[in-house]
């Protein structure tokens, strides 16, 4: 892949851009559908997250990093992971404060569920949404960091990148009071 130079960059990019633009919304819709219909059909927060992330990745490929990261919330992907985790933990922990075991979902078994269209409003869905957020954030964040690192590498390849070298004979630590490990 990496050795295959795009022979006709203009045409490729125009084609890709068009397709990417066309596919963007449908992909996101698919992802959301996978998420909320997960209780009836295969698919859950994880799959939805990856699909959603792949949709956005396509924008990366087509429009480049700068443009893609301007999409709403994409710039906060890494932080989204932890926002998702907090929501998930909230779902897990709330019942404890209500005197129930962890992860008791509401409404409980047998109780009727409020529907919004065909979507069931249950706390398990909230949990799945959290997972969705996290996975999407993870994929996007990971890719962003790799892209960032590649960019940095291209910009500057030098000794700084290797960090402080180990020097056993001198025994002087660059970092003060790190002391431990090998001296």
């Amino acid at each position: 892949m990496k050795n295959a130079p795009a022979r006709t960059p203009e045409i490729t990019s125009v084609l890709v851009r068009t397709i990417a633009k066309l596919l963007f919304l449908p992909i996101l819709v698919t992802a959301v559908a996978m998420l909320i219909k997960g209780y009836a059909q295969p698919g859950d927060g994880f799959s939805a997250g990856v699909v959603g992330a792949l949709g956005i990745l396509l924008q990366y490929l087509a429009f480049g990093r700068r443009t893609a990261e301007r999409l709403p919330l994409v710039g906060f992907a890494g932080k989204g992971v932890f926002a998702g985790l907090l929501i998930a933990l909230l779902v897990a922990a709330t019942p404890v404060f209500l005197g129930q075991p962890v992860f008791t979902h509401y409404p409980p078994a047998g109780a009727s569920v409020i529907y919004v269209g065909t979507i069931e409003l249950i706390t398990a869905l909230l949990f799945d949404t959290a997972v969705f957020l996290m996975v999407m954030g993870f994929v996007l964040g990971g890719v962003q960091m790799i892209a960032q690192t590649i960019a940095d590498e291209d910009e500057y390849r030098g000794p700084e990148a290797t960090g402080p070298e180990f020097d056993a004979s001198a025994g002087t630590d660059v970092e003060p009071s790190s002391g431990g490990g090998r001296r």
Partner: protein, 774 residues
């Protein structure tokens, strides 16, 4: 009223409390003001002595508290005769030694160029030593005894290594710690063996219940081993002369009232157990005799003052062990009496040696002599002590030999003869020490020793003489101690008898023989030196050094054999894993345990997919280019997804496809990070010896195959919880059971899983982005 009586019942704790508080008090005082450590420490030692004497005067007593009831360990301490004797020695001599140190230590520190503040450390450990000795003396529970036992070892370690900048001091301290510390574990094993059989750790209880037999012999032997090592008896004696690297007051204390005394204290404590086995008593006899002779002969050859005294100690404690080995009431009480009289004399002689070295700067007999005129008081005081050691009449020492002779006579003529010979040797080396220091040609002029270096010697010398005139109090104490060991009253009645009873004849014989030995020095000197050289070449000290060195070399050797490169680290783990599985399969019946399972018509696509997976996996092993490798890998992954689909697992299929896509992207992205040239060179590298790798991976395959096949061959369980899941899915408001499991039944797993995901992004951010999240 009840509170008061409760307080009274705890009264026997008093000596121990005071003794244990001494060390922290002195340390604290020393930290606040270095000058304060000595007076505070000395005062506490005096206080501990008074507390012990007072409590003993009040009748002693026992305190028995729960310590670790789960294991039947009790905090039982008692101030019986034996405890009182040793506690009084430890605190009394401790007081004198500390008083001596208050002057000696500043001189010593000054010589070594160390700050005065280091003194606190000295007093701290000396008093810890004292506290541990008091505890050891009073402890009745074997584990509690072990605690104090090791505490003395720790204290002595730091005291011997007090001059820690000196490699010799460090090596000596290590030797003392290793010899006494490792043998101490034997005491523990012995105690636990007894506990396993008799269900108690209390010495009095054990004394009542043990029966002669293998258990007792083994346990007794282990305990005796620990005791003999601590008392520096042959063949563990070598650490004691080396321990002379410590400052002189430490040596004085170590030899007279603490460390070495602890060994015979233990013998006295467990004597009720030991005496039930004649074999154990015989062991003590032999070891005692050996130590008497080896110690005495080597003492006759040493030139360094403290070395001479150290070997003399080995020999003297040999007597004590010998006395215990002789058995009977004279043995038990005589041993106790012997310890007291030896302690007073030996401490005085050590302090003399220290004072003289301070005064003259010399520590060798050959360079000293004729000091009587310069240090008349010291000469007289140490003369009294030396006379005591040599068992001359009108000293307390006379009675110690009287008791020895009496006990030996009870046992038979041979032992009597041996004890006379031993006494004569003692006279010879004591004469050598004192005569060598104070007689002969010497420089004139008044000495300039500070009083604090002399008066403790004078007090001790005075006590030795006093004991020769009024032996009653010492005898009473020894009788009480003997009674505690022997389990019955042990009247010893030492007194001067002006008649021709055998003991008197033996004493006269010993004096005569002693004078003969001194006079005939040229005759035997060569022989004694030869013995000493033989010991240096082939003795246990050499064995110890050889052992430590061999261990280090063996360790180096093993370390070089250790797998230390990255790749082999992984491979090396596979080998034992494979061997273990193989062993596991070998020990279980195999007939009928492994099934091939039937292949149905509908299974062919699945089978085909499995074959493709296997082929793709194998292909990865010889793909050279990285990009191709990533593609083959993802190919394998996609076919696996197909397998999942055939198995009726669409969710897994979906996720597997997505995960493979993601992984492929990752691999390609990573290979973008690394310059093409590096990767290319890497791909071109010669593969090296692949057969080893093939072997290891085949082994791993077999491991996986065995585990997988043996598990899959088992019929799947009935009533799986999964059926419950399917049944309960509607209750979770779900139709897709897998989703219900992930988000509801086992949501905790999913939470954990996404936590891993979160951790990974955190880790990647740490590694690539200095911890900043995108």
């Amino acid at each position: 009223m009840t509170a008061l009586s409760a307080a009274f019942s705890l009264a026997p704790l008093l000596p121990l409390l005071v003794a244990l508080l001494a060390a922290p008090a002195a340390m604290l005082a020393g930290t606040l003001k270095p000058r304060l450590a000595a007076p505070v420490g000395t005062a506490f030692a005096a206080l501990a002595f008074l507390a012990t004497a007072f409590t003993w005067y009040r009748g002693g007593g026992t305190v028995d508290l729960a310590w670790a009831p789960t294991w039947g360990m009790r905090f039982t301490i008692a101030l019986d005769g034996l405890a009182a004797l040793y506690a009084l020695l430890a605190t009394g001599i401790g007081f004198l030694v500390l008083a001596y140190s208050s002057r000696y230590l500043p001189l010593h520190l000054d010589q070594e160029g160390r700050p005065e503040a280091e003194g606190a450390r000295f007093y701290g450990f000396m008093l810890l030593f004292m506290g541990a000795m008091v505890g050891l003396a009073m402890a009745q529970d074997l584990v509690l005894l072990f605690v104090f036992w090791d505490l003395t070892a720790v204290a002595s370690y730091y005291l011997i290594a007090y001059d820690r900048h000196d490699p010799d001091a460090r090596a000596s301290a290590l030797m003392a710690l290793l010899v006494t510390g490792i043998t101490a574990v034997l005491l523990l094993i012995g105690a636990l063996t007894l506990y396993a059989t008799y269900g108690t750790l209390s010495v009095p209880d054990l004394a009542g219940s043990v029966e002669p037999g293998v258990t007792l012999t083994v346990a007794g032997l282990l305990i005796a081993c620990a005791a003999l090592a601590k008392s520096a008896q042959v063949p563990f004696h070598f650490w004691l002369p080396r321990a002379m690297a410590a400052p002189t007051p430490v040596s004085a204390y170590l030899h007279s009232a603490a460390m070495v005394a602890a060994g015979v204290l233990l013998l006295g404590r467990v004597y009720p157990l030991l005496e039930k086995s004649q074999f154990l008593l015989d062991v003590l006899l032999v070891v005692g005799l050996l130590s008497i002779s080896v110690g005495a002969i080597l003492a006759l050859t040493r030139d360094v003052l403290k070395q001479l005294l150290a070997y003399s100690t080995i020999s003297q404690y040999g007597y004590v062990v010998f006395l215990y080995g002789l058995g009977g009431e004279y043995g038990a009480a005589g041993a106790a009496f012997y310890v007291v009289s030896h302690a007073l004399a030996k401490c005085a002689l050590f302090l003399t040696a220290g004072a003289i070295t301070e005064e003259t700067g010399e520590d060798r007999l050959s360079r000293l002599g004729g000091l009587t005129k310069r240090l008349p008081l010291l000469a007289v005081a140490s003369g009294a002590a030396a006379a005591g050691l040599a068992a001359l009449p009108f000293t307390i020492g006379f009675f110690k030999d009287e008791l020895l002779f009496e006990a030996a006579l009870e046992r038979g003529g041979l032992f009597a003869a041996l004890s006379v010979l031993g006494a004569a040797l003692t006279i010879a080396y004591t004469w050598r020490f004192w005569g060598g220091l104070f007689l002969g040609e010497g420089r004139d002029g008044a000495g300039s020793l500070p009083a604090a270096l002399v008066w403790p010697v004078a007090v001790l010398g005075g006590l030795v003489l006093l004991g020769g005139l009024f032996v009653e109090p010492f005898a009473l104490l020894a009788e009480a101690a003997g009674a505690a060991s022997y389990g019955a009253p042990t009247p010893i009645e030492p007194a001067y008898h002006l008649d021709l009873r055998p003991t008197n004849l033996m004493a006269v014989g010993a004096f005569a023989l002693g004078i003969a030995i001194v006079a005939s020095r040229p005759l035997w000197e060569r022989g004694a030196l030869a013995v000493s050289r033989f010991g240096e070449v082939l003795g246990p000290e050499r064995l110890y050094e050889w052992g430590v060195d061999a261990l280090n070399r063996l360790s180096d050797y093993v370390h070089r054999a250790e797998v230390r490169d990255l790749r082999s680290r992984v491979a090396a783990i596979l080998l034992p894993a494979g061997v273990l599985v193989g062993a596991g399969i070998l020990v279980t019946p195999t007939v009928g345990a492994y099934r091939t399972g039937e292949v149905m018509r509908g299974d062919f696509p699945l089978l085909l997919a499995l074959v493709v997976v296997a082929v793709a996996a194998l292909t990865t092993t010889f793909t050279r280019r990285h990009v191709t490798l990533a593609l083959v890998l993802s190919g394998a992954g996609f076919v696996l997804a197909l397998v999942y689909a055939f198995l009726g697992a669409p969710e897994v299929t979906l996720v597997a496809v997505l995960v493979e896509t993601f992984l492929t992207l990752l691999f390609l992205g990573t290979s973008k990070l690394i310059p093409y040239k590096v990767l290319h060179d890497q791909a071109k590298l010669p593969l090296g010896n692949q057969w080893r790798r093939v072997f290891f991976s085949c082994l791993a395959s077999l491991f996986a195959f065995a585990v997988a096949w043996s598990a899959l061959s088992q019929p799947a369980a009935e009533n799986t919880v999964a059926e419950e899941h399917v049944r309960l899915a509607p209750d979770a408001h779900a139709q897709d059971t897998v989703s219900a499991i992930l988000a509801d039944f086992r949501a905790l797993d999913t939470l954990g899983e996404v936590t891993v995901v979160a951790l990974v992004i955190l880790g990647v951010a740490t590694l690539l982005n200095r911890g900043r999240l995108p």
